[in-house]
């Protein structure tokens, strides 16, 4: 899930996701929307793919990309639980420290 959060923290990757949200596009078509080099775009696509936010399909020599809705749903569920998760982590760490302070005699 951290991979997905890091993936969307980069504005250009969010723009790429927007491009492939409604349909499949080839890497070259995606790159044509940006001022950066094609390898840079490929790298962004890789990050998105590894984070589970896009899928890649080969068609001959072309690589086609589209957004992966399940990846987005997972991301959203994670974001919604943000404070609950943080407070759970606080509880866990504070309790761990308290146990360490009082030794292991219980």
């Amino acid at each position: 899930m951290e991979a997905a959060l890091k993936a969307i923290a980069e504005p250009r990757r969010r723009q790429i996701l927007e491009l492939v949200r409604d349909g499949e596009l080839a890497a070259g078509e995606i790159a044509a929307h940006f001022d950066v080099t094609r390898p840079a775009v490929s790298q962004h696509l890789n990050v998105l793919k590894e984070a589970g936010l896009v899928t890649e399909r080969r068609n001959g020599t072309r690589r086609l990309y589209r957004a992966r809705p399940e990846g987005l749903a997972e991301l959203k569920a994670f974001l919604e639980g943000f404070w609950d998760d943080r407070l759970d982590a606080l509880k866990r760490e504070a309790e761990k420290e308290e146990r360490a302070k009082h030794g292991r005699n219980d």
């Binding site: 969307i8 927007e18 404070w83 509880k91 420290e97």
Partner: protein, 157 residues
Amino acid sequence: MDATTETTSLEREITIAASPETVWQFLVDPDKATLWMGERATFDARPGGAWSIDVIAGATASGEFVELDPPHRLVYTWGWEPSGAEANPVPPGSSTIEIELTPDGDGTTLRFTHRDLPNAKATESHMHGWDHYLARLAVIATGGDAGRDPWLDGPMK
């Protein structure tokens, strides 16, 4: 200051099997705070002192300590640092977190309140496209209710 922005707040209550003194350290000591939140933190834990936490890469939360009454009550402002030219629904200083610790037997009851968050409607009008995801993160991460994402309901044809 935008007096017309509607706001909302979030409340949570948890019990922790640790003394208020132990829990307090996790709120004001940056090395301990990063065990439960973020990757890097700097805290100047006194009234008016600044704090900041890199919550995830590219997203830094920051604010100021307002009130410290160890180990009972902590108040600080909360917001997200600007990132590029994107709409920022929760800028630093715009919302307030209040944490109260009450002894409960050998443990502590922690009451968490996050006030002055923009509500979903106020936020939605500033955003469009995929940029809204980080902005949603800002709202949700700060405890607001961004509502169900309409994009998740429509099939991706």
